[in-house]
């Protein structure tokens, strides 16, 4: 059986493990869903009303029964009803995920588009002023917290120059590409900055290692141009750590970027999960964590497949 198929077989096991973990963790947080849902008005409930509500959401059963009921519904594709929104969890996730996905993709494009060329550029000019400059920029980019970068970008571009609308009601990609991108570019840049800095650092050091390899010397002895030596011979070998890093970062971003969503008032998945935890919205927390875990596993699988595509020595069948 091929490696990707075997990996897919592991998926359900990991999902089950994640489900159990989240199920218990969220219930260990003090407070209950009904109180959180109704806020101060929960004091006005009669014990009977409270009981009825608890029973409606199935919260009167013991944990095993609750988990079993939830799990059997999940297996039928039903993630349950959110206590805060009063809507199916799946609907809520699907409403907010496109934004998160778009943000993650844009950040990664920015990170790799800037980071990879910059890292290679720095590696081929090791210890020259241009390399030093790239390294300082990468260091600053990586050590500055994202929200500082975000606030700075808002201030400089929107307030200072009056370009780019910064906030307002979110416009989905499907309802106007340019208006959507105008809203997304700042948050994507904010996330992409630290991401790009990490890509610069890792691609520079991977490239430096590869440029010292014997086979690069062989490539030069053939009379290949400097450009071909770097792009055709060295780069594919240097990409593996870059792919690893990008995969992990991208996986995290698919779980939502709470801070940046908050700063730019974007209704992404990160804020949904944060609110759900505060509201003890058990079904929503469980459903979205399961969804995030699934995405993470898909990304990991894609990363592994990318390894095999990059390096013929990685043959999964023989593992």
């Amino acid at each position: 059986m091929s490696y990707p198929l075997r990996r897919l077989l592991v998926f359900p096991l990991v999902m089950l493990g994640v489900s159990v973990f989240v199920f218990i963790a969220i219930r260990l947080v003090p407070g209950d869903a009904i109180t959180a849902m109704l806020g101060t008005e929960s004091g006005l409930l009669t014990p009977a009303q409270r009981e009825a509500l608890t029973a409606y959401f199935g919260l009167d059963q013991n944990w095993f029964v609750q988990f079993w009921r939830w799990l059997s519904r999940v297996l039928q594709g039903d993630l349950g009803i959110s206590t805060t929104y009063g809507k199916p969890v799946m609907t809520i996730i699907l409403e907010h995920f496109p934004l998160t996905l778009e943000l993650a993709v844009l950040s990664m494009l920015i990170a790799i588009g800037i980071g990879l060329p910059a890292g290679i550029f720095a590696a081929t000019r090791k210890d020259k002023p241009s390399d030093m400059a790239v390294r300082v920029i990468a260091m600053v980019g990586q050590s500055t917290p994202g929200f500082v970068v975000g606030l700075l970008l808002i201030f400089v571009l929107s307030v200072g120059f009056g370009v780019l609308p910064q906030m307002g009601t979110f416009v989905p990609l499907t309802e106007g590409i340019s208006r959507n991108l105008a809203q997304m570019i700042l948050p994507a840049l904010t996330l992409g900055t630290a991401f790009a800095a990490a890509v610069i650092r890792i691609s520079r050091s991977a490239m430096l290692d590869i440029l010292r390899e014997d086979f690069v010397r062989t490539a030069r002895s053939k009379g290949l141009s400097r450009r071909r030596v770097i792009w055709r011979h060295a780069l594919p070998n240097a990409l593996i750590p870059v792919v690893t890093l990008s995969g992990v970062e991208f996986g995290y971003l698919l779980g939502g970027a709470v801070l940046v969503e908050q700063i730019f008032a974007l209704p992404g998945l990160g804020r949904v999960v944060l609110d759900a935890i505060q509201q003890r919205d058990y079904a929503l927390v469980q459903g979205s964590v399961l969804f995030i875990a699934f995405n993470f596993m898909v990304v990991n699988l894609l990363v592994d497949l990318a390894y095999a595509a990059l390096d013929p020595r990685i043959r999964f069948e023989t593992k």
Binding site: T218, S221, K222, L224, R226, N237, D311, P312
Partner: protein, 576 residues
């Protein structure tokens, strides 16, 4: 200038201040078309740096040419000074005019590109071929270096080919541009002796059939004896002697050349085997191995089903006396190191018996010295800590006696006084290997397993370490299991030789007997492949037969191969 290459007073330095850090100090030589120059020297002699200064690859290793000229006559008749050439111009010289073959074929090819791609790109760049034409040319190039099934091999990645195959691919790449000068930097050092003979055969053929000039860099003067026209001996960045091959070999003028010629162990068909045999009346057995088999399971499929075994070692039997050396020779993958590891208890035998004569004072009668002294000493430990480790391993205290033993052993292996507080990096390669030997002797073992223990050392250092081993053997009555691929070394150190092929001993007996009168076809093949000064005018043939696979289905048992006697204590496997 009339020839192909004329190097005058070449100086090369490294680092930010190359003038102050010069490693090649004024080297001059000439090379004509079709001529082969051997540059001989030990590590640090500047031989590789000199060669890589010619096509200026030295620039990429942090080197700078600080003086001199490298005049090269290109194919179009123009002569240029490569020492002053710009990088753009050098790119037109490399590959097209000057091809290069490197020492390590395993690391010198790009692991993520197929060998086809790596050959084709030279044809496309240097001859302006289309992709389809380049593919045909690449296949022909592989056929030229005798790679069977060339069309299919083009699609292989380097890791799918053996070292010998890869070095042939390297040669195909170097020849693809039809260079007028070929630089070969220790092209066979990393290869087995039979594969080495094939590569040398290919290069000799090339020399015969074309007028390509060749620079062959080697530490082994015997290796080039077969086809070099001229020899240049280097020491510490200077040329100490150069001249026609026969003149330098037969009447060396410089003491260092004479020293090199003496230090390199020359294979002489058993004539220089040791005569101080330990067998005979009263010899005690140090090690007795009977029917040893080591197998590694091969697992496949989803459930990791046990589908077969690699029969790495199969039915190996021998005994070893105190004060005796048994040389185990064979090619990489033949099971010699696995045998050694099983004796140390590092591999679990599938079957067989390993008995040691003495339990040894610490219950550890067998100790080991590894090939690479740089990798087998922890760089963060001082010499004292390194020597203390065997004691700690058996739970002994480091007391005054232990310290006295350390000091005594260090003196015995001729390491300087006051070494105890120093770190491994402060010692030379030879000194580090002495340190490893001292460590192995800490527990007063009866058997020392030496796995390619002198292979990584320069020839003159190697000779001194071998002398030390012989002295220690006599003094402590040690039994040596000496695993090596080097026939000339084993001839000098071993009393008896076991020839291993495909996991089995095919021939075993006294060194002089086995080497002078080999009976098994593989032993003969092995001996025929050893280059030597005496055989310098005989040609090597190119054999492309492959070694049989050692993977067998579960439950497979080898058919018993009868032994044939060839004299007292000299046995070999009968061949069908």
């Amino acid at each position: 200038m009339t020839g192909l290459l004329s190097v005058r007073d070449l100086r090369v330095g490294f680092g930010a201040h190359p003038e102050d850090n010069e490693v090649v100090h004024g080297v001059s030589f000439d090379l004509g078309p079709g001529e082969t120059l051997a540059i001989v020297g030990e590590s640090g002699s500047g031989k590789s740096v000199t060669a890589m200064a010619i096509n200026r690859l030295v620039d990429f290793g942090g080197g700078r040419i600080t003086g001199g000229q490298i005049e090269f006559a290109a194919g179009d008749g123009s002569v240029s000074d490569l020492a002053r050439a710009e990088e753009n111009m050098l790119e037109t010289i490399r590959g097209r005019e000057i091809g290069m073959i490197f020492q390590e074929p395993m690391t010198s090819l790009n692991p993520v590109l197929t060998v086809g791609t790596q050959i084709e790109e030279v044809f496309r760049l240097q001859h302006g071929m289309t992709r389809a034409d380049a593919r045909i040319a690449a296949r022909e190039a592989l056929e030229r270096v005798r790679i069977p099934d060339a069309a299919r091999r083009l699609t292989y990645a380097p890791h799918q080919l053996s070292g010998g195959m890869l070095q042939r691919v390297m040669i195909a790449i170097a020849l693809a541009g039809n260079p007028r000068l070929l630089i070969a930097d220790e092209p066979t050092t990393a290869l087995d002796v039979t594969i080495q003979a094939q590569i040398l055969g290919l290069l000799a053929e090339l020399k015969r059939d074309t007028d390509t000039g060749m620079i062959f860099i080697t530490h082994d003067i015997g290796l080039v004896a077969g086809f070099a026209d001229r020899v240049m001996v280097m020491q510490e960045g200077r040329v100490v002697e150069q001249g026609p091959l026969d003149r330098v070999l037969d009447a060396p003028e410089h003491p260092y050349t004479r020293h090199l010629l003496e230090a390199v162990p020359h294979f002489s068909d058993g004539k220089s085997a040791r005569r101080d045999g330990a067998r005979g009346g009263g010899a005690r057995t140090a090690l007795d191995v009977e029917g040893l088999s080591v197998r590694f399971p091969v697992r496949s499929g989803l459930l990791k089903r046990h589908s077969g075994n690699v029969h790495a070692v199969e039915g190996v039997s021998f005994d070893l006396m105190r004060g005796e050396t048994l040389g185990i020779v064979g090619e990489s993958g033949s099971g010699k190191s696995t045998t050694a590891r099983a004796i140390l208890g590092l591999e679990t035998p599938a079957r067989g018996r390993i008995e040691t004569g003495d339990a040894g004072e610490a219950g550890r009668p067998v100790q080991m010295v590894f090939q690479n002294p740089n990798a087998s000493l922890n760089p963060r430990l001082t010499v004292e800590q390194i020597l203390a480790e065997p004691y700690i391993a058996v739970g002994r205290r480091i007391d005054a006696d232990a310290r006295a033993r350390m000091a005594g052993l260090l003196e015995r292996v001729e390491l300087p006084q006051g070494s105890l507080a120093r770190y491994p990096h402060e010692f030379s390669g030879g000194q580090r290997q002495r340190l490893c030997i001292a460590r192995a002797l800490m527990l007063n073992p009866s058997v020392l397993v030496l796995d390619e223990a002198v292979s990584a050392l320069d020839v003159s250092v190697q000779a001194r370490v071998l002398d030390l081993l012989v002295d220690l053997q006599k003094e402590f009555h040690l039994a040596y299991l000496f695993v090596t691929h080097d026939m000339a070394v084993v001839e000098r150190i071993a009393h008896r030789i076991a020839v291993v092929f495909a996991g089995q001993i095919v021939e075993i007996g006294p060194t002089a007997e086995v080497l002078a009168n080999p009976r098994h076809s593989y032993t003969r093949q092995l001996i025929a492949a050893v280059p030597s000064l005496e055989r310098r005018h005989s040609a090597f043939s190119v054999d492309t037969s492959a070694i049989p696979s050692l993977v067998r289905p579960v439950g497979w048992e080898p058919a018993p191969v009868p032994w044939a006697e060839a004299g007292a204590d000299h046995r070999f496997r009968a061949e069908g």
